[in-house]
Symmetry: D2
Subunit: 254 residues, 4 copies
């Protein structure tokens, strides 16, 4: 994925005005879109960033691959949230982290990128269907073989403590004790929750065992990039989820 | 910085209600705050995450170190923006990137973390005063020796192309051509700009040479983490900057 | 429109889940929607607020009439903005105000309501097509005969000074001098502008003649009203316009 | 309050840059502010909108009077919310409305303005201290004698039905039945609540008796009005309250 040239069988991001398409560049094929036909023969061998009529062709970023290349069986975490979650979890190249609720694997891929080839992401998913879908998504997109996808209940999972933990399940408060036991001292647990009621439930469960608890919303506003008519877009995403973070406290009796 | 135990001369984050303090844990000293006196002797040797009266003591995250441990001579980039910038620039462990406008070094440190020990960040600052301040900040906080801080004008800088570029200066449009020449095909250039007028100027300069241009604002809203009275905080940051991103296009005559 | 009972030929708001329909209650007719058939005979004579299957039937508010009962040839001003504009213009029952750019007449109707039967709204529209459409809209919806719709250029309009003025045209800065001359001392001029560039142009034109200038955005966020799953809606309106207000200054040479 | 000239003993709004002061113009006195001394003799008799050094002097709007002229013993409702509440309650000149929780009287004054001299606002406050403070505030600022302030518990209040109702107390759900009985068919009940938990409680109480329920947040973002450097202000109000509205349904057994 690090090449500078559009090659056969690579994935390419085709941009037409404000639309984006992720396509496999196959010999003898073409892209048919609102900007007309784009025969792949005309761009194969060109460097990325080539313009062809009204189309622009780029090497997809991880964001592109996740937004346009993942089969979604669950609501995926948006880039605006994913980036901020990684920062708050304080993970970096070499970190070892655990995720509960693989879902479609989008967040797993962001974690994989951040911890890099020397790090490790254990991701646990109870639903076999989601586990299988995520496994397929990750096989196609992963940058490094640093992910360990497990199809089990987290309550049965045992391991040495992790550098950070993230839960994305409907009732994350059920796993607070477990997550506390799976974290190194002072490390961060994060979660994303769609409703305010869930936030209250999660706060109640976290408070005895986690400190410095923060609840945050990230709003993302896109502008029309027109020099003489700069303005926000008419519609925006109004809500994805509330983010909640806390740091593991030592519990006296433990 | 990876220990689990509070040791002498380490930096610690002391949390008291919604206030946070970054302190060096020195023998024979104490922290005097609204929650009373916290003698460091009482916590030295304890694991992070220890509670002591109304205080909680944690190992600082990179965010803590930047927000509370940097001497600011310039407006620093906020975590909400920093995290999203790294995602859009599509950098990862091993990436090689260039930053124009080191400022106080906050963004440089975020980039350093993302590209990791196998990556590299070249950061260029024209003002000697800022360069020196950033150098001091980074010496104190850096995780890896992967940053190269230069005190010069970017117009005189020559190098092989980079994986990503970021500009944080008052008139970034002056450096568009230079940045274009310093990027690999299709790679992302980002910038942050406080005013709408600057965004228009930047768009005008970028449009012939960069494609898939996006202008984005990230809003950050914090909630009071109270189970029975969940509500956003009364005041919030209303604006930091407009983020602008584009990908390098091939220019026919080149 | 002030009755408490659903009568023949009145307009009714039919609510089905989060959808709303404005319908004329005609003898022998029915509403056919996602909740099935609602024969008007079954509700005629009932008080408003009646439930019929999954439908609820209410007397339309002014907001309903404007949002669902106006034929739009132009972008109409949203309720969130309309309400705030009236407050900033400081109009009240009995006020006399002038609007430049009738558009589809939505804002004119809000003004009409606020100034009431003892007040007066002069609304000027250059485009004959918009003027005619607005006239038809207002005939159908108006509460009081306090609106004077004119199809002319504001530059040719002369009158005694008004209590407040509002401009909603593409280049409002062309009319600043005129508006200044048509306002009583210290009174408020308002405008709504979709782009940041227009705001800069408008500020430049207003600054010598108007004081206490404010530029404001109103964001509107709707929640799903579910007791156990309270959360913002997934999508929201991201932008309608920037509001700008200023108060007439005395100009020395006048 | 409708004059065009600054007169003795009138209230004036003095604007200096982005600061505003509400002052009584008294003979022989002066305003001492950051822009120097402003002797009232130099502006008495001038029309509003006069500039004097860096000061501008205007006739206060209702918003100015409420924001700068009210003694606050309770959190007052902000203009952004007040304007929208009036619109959703669908009140207009001549309406008769009831408010539960007078607080400091700010919202009462907005209602008074909207319903005008031919309308009426009954406002009920249980706490004698708040009732007295609101009475004093309203005596000083009221435009029309259309407000009836009562110091009692709403549960003991009886009257013919109103056109609209608003509750601003800590536990508004306790008064849902009462409010239902005090509204005309199909009319709107509104409330403002600071926490998400309160919204859930209020929804639970409203749902059997009110339809078309909406929960809304209004965010207000102010810009620095500088032609060449247009940008939002650094800090903004992050939260005032959640607004909730519903329309009275007919209850079968009633």
């Amino acid at each position: 994925m690090d090449g500078k040239t559009i090659t056969e069988n690579s994935l390419a991001l085709i941009v037409y005005k404000d639309r984006k398409y992720l396509k496999k560049i196959e010999l003898g094929k073409a892209f048919h879109g609102k900007g007309g036909v784009l025969p792949f023969s005309s761009i194969m061998g060109s460097p990325y960033g080539v313009r062809c009529g009204d189309y622009e062709v780029f090497q997809p970023t991880l964001e592109d691959l996740i937004m346009y290349g993942i089969r979604r069986e669950t609501q995926i975490i948006f880039p605006k949230d994913a980036a901020f979650i990684c920062l708050k979890l304080n993970i970096s190249p070499g970190s070892r982290m655990i995720e509960v609720g693989t879902g479609s694997g989008a967040m797993t891929l962001y974690f994989s990128r951040v911890v890099g080839p020397s790090g490790c992401v254990v991701s646990i998913e109870k639903e076999e269907r989601h586990h299988k879908n995520a496994t397929r998504n990750i096989e196609r997109i992963s940058e490094w073989p640093n992910m360990n996808l497990l199809n089990q209940d987290v309550s049965e999972y045992e391991d040495t403590p992790f550098d950070a933990a993230f839960i994305d399940v409907r009732e994350p408060w059920l796993h607070i004790e477990k997550m506390h036991s799976l974290l190194d001292p002072g490390r961060v647990l994060g979660s994303i929750l769609p409703t305010a009621n869930q936030v209250s439930d999660m706060l109640r469960a976290m408070q005895p065992r986690f400190g410095d608890i923060e609840v945050i919303e990230i709003l993302f506003r896109k502008y029309k990039p027109v020099v003489e008519r700069l303005r926000p877009e008419d519609r925006m995403v109004g809500h994805t989820g509330y983010l909640i973070f806390g740091r593991k406290l030592q519990i006296p009796e433990e």
